[in-house]
Amino acid sequence: MSAFKDFDTTWVMVVDIDKCTGCGACMAACQTENNIAPQPDASNKLRTVSWMTVYELSNKMPFPDHDMAYLPRPCMQCGNPPCVSVCPVIATDKNENGGIVSQIYPRCIGCRYCVAACPYHARVFGWYDPVWPEGMQKTLTPLTSTRPRGVVEKCNFCHHRLNLAKDAARAQGKNPEDLEDGAYKPSCAEICPTGAISFGDAKNAKHKVHELIKSPNAFRLLERLGTKPQVYYYSKREWVRRQGDNYLKSEKV
């Protein structure tokens, strides 16, 4: 296990679970932003290409004591990513300021070791060549390259938007390494109808997320495994927070 650098900028996402209605707009935004092909048979959720997946959480109580929540899961961009050190060909790395875990499709050989190593199921493999219906490829964005089959892909916090935000900052004579709050936002965060997804630099006191992640209601998934995710969740409900990690019966959240 190699140790990863602590970056001056740490892009984090904070998802307010108590605000998520599970509408799937984030997934829809992600798919077209990142040129994921439509999938005529998406029944087998273990085979679909989706960088953002909304999970349904249950407090496992019977009606009428039942409660539920939706949990959108992008890539956690772990501070200590289990996927990076395992890659045999350095197709994935965590080496850029901001801490976004990169995935380089032309380098990937498709061994899927990273898929196995990631407990969040954030990484998906291209089982098929992507196919767009006749003409629909004209709505591809220039932001993300298309992937052939046989490589692994995952959410990258719409990293291209970071590059564009930096370009815009340069054009305006601002410091591209010190972006204003909101200058860089992934597509899902931008589009979420309830505004459940916040985004910013955790290390920058001028960014809202800087405070948000300090809340006692904020938590990260599977923190005790040592992955140090850069995605935080927020819920005032104790049972929701408890489902963010595995706990022995005797343990408290």
């Binding site: 219906p133 629909m136 004209k138 709505t139 916040s198």
Partner: protein, 710 residues
């Protein structure tokens, strides 16, 4: 010269050794791996300048403003326009689909005429001539069915049939129509709106307001704004409905209520408020008081709906204790809502004194019309499509029917009967953009251009507490041989010698905007309409309204219609409140992921549809473990739902989100038309859903129905 084996081996060995010292193997290995990132059958991404253009979504019923990314001028993705009050950057998966649906395989690519049961392409000229003849022949025996709930195109179409002497203009049933009917029964004026932004306690009576009810993106934005993670919630939300779905899941409390019991629950709350001193007044108040007093005490509600009195007391306390309480009645499935529930909910609002108050109910005055001879919205909404089609099924169909943005052969209750009725119409024309179930039955299909290809508008979607108007303008030339229907109708009227006075939809819209400018209002930029409702002073009217609208901004008018005859309609309520009899109630629900009846399932959305709703061709219905035990079924069991004389095979998903005695079933599946993304995906629950007519109100309701399970 002979070469022996050894020499030959020498040649080969030399060749191999030499080759190793040339670029061939190494360059080939490298280039082949580069080739693998560049396969010819994988499309390249476009190059070209990235820019943004603004319009509004017509596919999404919430009427969101769109910020469309273009590359080299071609629309690529649609996001929410942050400067539009109905979207504020948010957009649904339907709004998101506006760009790629341009290329949906289900699109009708040219005008089609049915010849011997098969569609054949025709030119627009031929279509125009053919239709002009048919319309002339039909004369006043022409009707129009429109699914466009917010567009001025309705003015064009209704003026067209009005010139023919017909007033048979029908809207596809929606929350808007259910509300309009119930509201008029109460003597209310204007289109009911709900100021969720300024409310501090919202009791949602059935309405799936964060998914399908009203301008749902606006609702969600208001909800989101009320609960900033860094502070306490600024408003409480209570959801009453059969299932704790998307809306219920984020509310502070869920009160399980069957579709037919929503009115009873609201009246139970009213009983408690009245006990505490609230006094109804106005027309119908006396009947209301006597009915509620004698029929809706908490113990009676408990007997009827199984709700503990404490629950009702809790709701009443929250509402009474709030500064700006609001009750939002609606249908859990976005259509066929109960008039009784609406009236009961509105009665609560009245009891709480919430009419024409910030954070209360604000009914919107009608906007000025642009087209002379167009029918009034209010009049159109009185026409009942269900009754019309039932008549048509009974042989009383008009000569010709135009279907605009409407797919009644799929999207109405008892869908099979509706499709049969439509088939009996002698001549039918669909202006569908996609080959939907209704278009497939039509004699002529004249494809409407899609949102990004046409001039259109969005005026005050149902539910918003302020009049709002935004423009839809073409961002690209039509991809296929399609035309804006309104343009075509204007040309048709012209050809038939009954000109409507406009040459194009653009002209109509310019006239509309001119009329709006005279009505006052302002551009929502620095001041938002809900801020104006709450008392902020409205800015000056726009100097160039058309230009501002073209820039993606919305015109708003924050003023409630004066209510002079509003009353409790106690007499109607007394007759209309009635539970659904039956062991189990089928409670349909709709999600935006499965699209709308006119667009089918957006291609990209199948990935989002969860596997507890659809797997391959199987639709899953949800019930809790107790309900399942009544029928001895478990997760994944195949069952048959019987209703409306039809049987549908479905599978069971156990979910404790659903109240006991209810089977929650997703709408939006089971298309027999469209493309590979919609066709054959699951079953259409509307086929087993029978509409019931609420006595007294005389309104058809299908937010739930008793069904049999086998």
């Amino acid at each position: 010269m002979g070469i022996d084996r050894r020499a030959f081996i020498g040649l080969v060995a030399g060749g191999v050794a030499g080759t190793l010292f040339t670029p061939i193997p190494w360059k080939m290995a490298d280039d082949l791996s580069i080739w693998s990132q560049n396969w010819s059958w994988i499309p390249r991404v476009p190059k070209g300048p990235v820019a943004y253009a603004y319009t509004s979504s017509k596919l999404c019923p919430s009427g969101t403003g769109l910020k469309v990314m273009t590359v080299g001028g071609a629309p690529v993705t649609a996001a929410g326009n942050p400067d539009h009050p109905l979207s504020q950057g948010g957009v649904s998966s339907i709004g998101r689909s506006e760009t790629y649906m341009l290329y949906s395989p289900a699109r009708v690519k040219s005008p089609l005429k049915k010849v011997n049961g098969k569609f054949e392409p025709v030119t627009w000229e031929e279509a125009l001539t053919a239709l002009a003849e048919k319309c002339k022949a039909a004369g006043a025996k022409i009707a129009c069915v429109s699914g466009d709930q917010t567009g001025t195109a309705n003015e064009v179409l209704s003026a067209f049939i009005a010139k023919q002497g017909s007033s048979a203009y029908y809207m596809v049933p929606s929350e808007k129509q259910s509300a309009a009917k119930a509201w008029s029964l109460m003597g209310g004026a204007g289109q009911p709106g709900f100021d969720v932004d300024n409310a501090d306690c919202v009791f949602i009576l059935g309405a799936d307001m964060f998914e399908t009810w009203g301008s749902s993106i606006r609702n969600r934005k208001a909800f989101g704004a009320s609960r900033d993670a860094s502070g306490d919630a600024k408003a409480a939300f209570i959801y009453a409905g059969p299932e704790r779905d998307g809306t219920g899941s984020v509310c502070d409390a869920w009160i399980p209520v069957k579709p037919g019991d929503l009115a009873m629950v609201a009246l139970g709350v009213a009983w408690i408020l009245m006990e505490a001193g609230a006094m109804p007044s106005g027309p119908g108040a006396a009947e209301f008081v006597s009915y509620v007093k004698s029929n809706c005490s908490p113990d009676k509600v408990e007997a009827a709906c199984g709700l503990k009195p404490a629950v009702l007391v809790g709701v009443a306390k929250m509402l009474a204790g709030a500064k700006a309480p609001l009750v939002v009645p609606g249908s859990p499935c976005g259509q066929g809502g109960s008039a009784a529930a609406f009236m009961a909910g509105m009665a609560l609002n009245m009891l709480l004194g919430r009419i024409n108050k910030p954070g209360g109910v604000v009914a919107l005055p009608a906007l000025p019309k642009a087209v002379d001879g167009a029918m009034d919205q209010a009049d159109i909404l009185k026409n009942d499509l269900l009754a019309f089609l039932k008549d048509a099924g009974a042989g009383k169909a008009p000569e010709a029917v135009l279907f605009y943005e409407a797919n009644p052969a799929y999207g109405l209750p008892e869908a099979d009967a509706m499709a049969e009725a439509i088939a009996k119409i002698p001549f039918k024309v669909s202006f569908a953009s996609f080959m939907d179930e209704t278009a497939a039955l039509c004699d002529l299909v004249l494809p409407n251009s899609l949102t990004l290809e046409r001039f259109d508008d969005v005026a005050s979607p149902y539910g918003v507490a302020f009049n709002v108007y935004s423009l839809v303008k073409p961002l690209t030339k039509p991809i296929y041989d399609t035309r804006t229907t309104a343009d075509f109708i204007l040309a048709l009227a012209e050809k038939m010698g009954a000109s409507l006075g406009f040459a194009s939809m653009e002209e109509v819209l310019k006239a509309k905007v001119e009329a709006l400018a005279l009505a006052g209002g302002f551009i929502a930029k620095d001041v938002q309409p809900w801020q104006a409702l709450a008392g902020s002073s409205a800015p000056e009217p726009s100097a160039d309204l058309w230009a501002d609208l073209e820039g993606g901004y919305a015109w708003v008018l924050a003023a409630g219609a004066e209510q002079t005859g509003l009353g409790y309609a106690g007499g109607v309520l007394a007759k209309a409140v009635k539970p659904i009899e039956g062991k189990v109630v089928l409670a349909p629900y709709a999600r935006q992921t499965s699209g709308t009846p006119v667009m089918g399932i957006p291609a990209q959305n199948l990935t989002i549809v969860p596997d507890n709703e659809l797997i391959n061709t199987a639709t899953f219905v949800k019930m809790n473990a107790e309900t399942a035990s009544w029928f001895g079924v478990s997760e994944g069991s195949s069952i048959t739902i019987e209703g409306a004389g039809q049987k549908l095979p479905v599978k069971v998903h156990l979910s404790e989100n659903v109240m006991t005695g209810v089977i929650a079933a997703p709408l939006g599946f089971g298309h027999s038309a469209f493309d590979q993304y919609s066709k054959g995906k699951g079953v259409n629950i509307l086929r087993v859903l029978a509409a019931r007519v609420e006595e007294g109100a005389g309104v058809a309701v299908w937010d739930g129905a008793a069904v049999n399970i086998a």
